[in-house]
Amino acid sequence: MSGDTQQRADGADRVRDVALLRAMLRVRRFEERCAELYQQEKIRGFLHLYIGEEAVAAGVLQALGAEDAVVATYREHGHALLRGVSARAIMAEMYGKQEGCSRGRGGSMHLFDVATRFYGGNAIVGGGLPIAAGLALADALQRRPRVTACFFGDGAVAEGEFHETLNLAALWRLPVLFCCENNLYAMGTALARAQAQTNLAIKAAAYGMPAWTVDGMDVIAVADAATRAVAAVRAGAGPFFLELRTYRFRPHSMFDPELYRAKAEVEEWKQRDPIAALTARLRGAGLVDDAALAAIERDAQAEIDDAVAFAEAGSWEPVAELTRFVYSGPASAGAHT
């Protein structure tokens, strides 16, 4: 798959491609701010940045409709934001404030928003895949032409749940778009040290599932592939597998000393920064200029400043409510302390 803006400069694509730039930039700036806020101890616990991988979420999520569903991992700020969860609600969540999208209960790894059908924020590697299959099963049983997009890393491919879920989805022809964010590492474990078969799309053949390998640093390629794959899934062709080859520019989490990869390798990948690449292409095609770029930056900054202010002004849930949400219903039914 590849996208070539030169040949696709019709109006709709033009709008889409600029939107993709805007999307990636929002995510980038949002997370850069998160990193700062982590240093300031405003955000605590684990924080996994998506910086470098934005093209994947941006390209895939633009292909979905409002009725579709998304299941993501602990590295999901970008996915939440681009799915339409407000920066305010996300930032407040990362602060642990009750104005957060999960009322502060979840934090960075557990962003949820039922209104946009964003089903987390799953921090057990591979744990989201069966849930995605189930969401799709619900759609299939109710004859709703919806798609569930399920994001997971290359590391998850080794988990048993990957295998079980891909088989189940293929067997039952469930409308799932499996999006493997192959950033070449699972924490410090390089793909070749985790997988006997490093061509991950080949794995899909073991389930008779169509699969494409996509350059995950090229947001237009991702968007094109995802748009076609989503159409196929929605049309009832069963699940689809996308391997999105990408790279994380930052450490795995804020604790990672990055002993396992060379600085030079990281620098090389940074040359392929998806935001810089798209910016150059759009500029080259005359689709954006300095003023437009500055406006995009300004908007992003404004959105983030607003989100931070919102989070700062947010409130802590009273300790008396500790055992809420263990069970449904009025109070803390069934919870014992």
Binding site: A69, V71, Q98, G100, C101, S102, R103, G104, R105, G106, H110, F112, D113, V114, Y119, G120, G121, N122, I124, G127, L129, P130, I131, A132, A133, G134, L135, A136, L137, A138, D139, L141, Q142, G160, E161, E164, T165, N167, L168, L171, W172, R324, F325, V326, Y327, S328, G329, A333, G334, A335, H336
Partner: protein
Amino acid sequence: MTSSASLSAPTTSAAPAAPLGPLSSAPLAPPSAGAAPPGVVRTTYRNAIREAIRAAMLADERVFLMGEDVGRYGGCYAVSKGLLEEFGPERIRDTPLSESAFVGAGIGAALGGMRPIVEVMTCNFSLLALDQIMNNAAALLHMSGGQCNVPLVIRMATGAGRQVAAQHSHSLEGWYAHIPGIRILAPATIEDARGMLGTALRDSDPVLIFEHATLYSLEGDLAADAGEVPIDRAAVRRPGSRVSLITYGGTLRKTLQAAEQLATSGIDAEVIDLRTLRPLDTPTILESVRKTHRAVIVDEGWRSGSLSAEISARITEGVFYELDAPVARVCSAEVPMPYPRHLEEAALPQAEAIVAAARATIGADG
């Protein structure tokens, strides 16, 4: 909810029928002999569960059943026999051997608006799905700040007693009761087999139902109009005054037998069927012990860390000054289940041990 359910011996057991009361401690109905009285049907625990599934599926289109061999095979314990023919393969779904995936898919389907019944063939295999149960089913509502309800019912067979050895004889329901966010049910009677599932399906949270494998063939009477039963209260199955025998699931019958034996020597034991293992109905337990001043807990789980420990601790915490003797426990031996019958019987709680524990408790207050 009227009830004249009575508990007959299962085909494989030589034990005499012991009468069971309704949930309240109203006087017991006499055991039915021969043909069922009017308004009452003769059935089995197995058929009662099947009826419960049928009724739920007829009443609510969102309900479906999935699990290994629930369809063409007819269910490992024949519980779902005939349902595939009645409801078709969309709603009676045979799954591959993928416990984690299909339990997780049940969670996802619940999030997606369905009311799935997931059958994990036996609790022995549920360990493969435990991550989904603890980290997703039980946690999603909380992690999402109250947004993501998981109205999922998971059924599984549990328990020993059929000489199927170490990997097929676990009693894990009490252990599962440690997990916040889920509800645990242990139907011990035909009435509860018929009634708990429907109520569980109305719950907005995940409910795990553990069906003791030795109960499936249990025969008994059931009200023709039997339906849903409450799932938040323990039941006094036999009122008594001298000692509280507290149990659930597969050991209820043995405990009732023990109570009958005790009665013959003038000891009037109260038998409590917990029914719901999480959340525990502590008030009913404490009320009983406040009356009898003595308690014996009977639990098929391995003793250490079994639910019996929690109950003992709660009794101590709640009515310590009412106790005339230490709370006693009759549990399974702490051994992976051996295959030979004599060793399996020795490993499991038996009526004799319950009687002995009750007597020791009574003798103990000097």
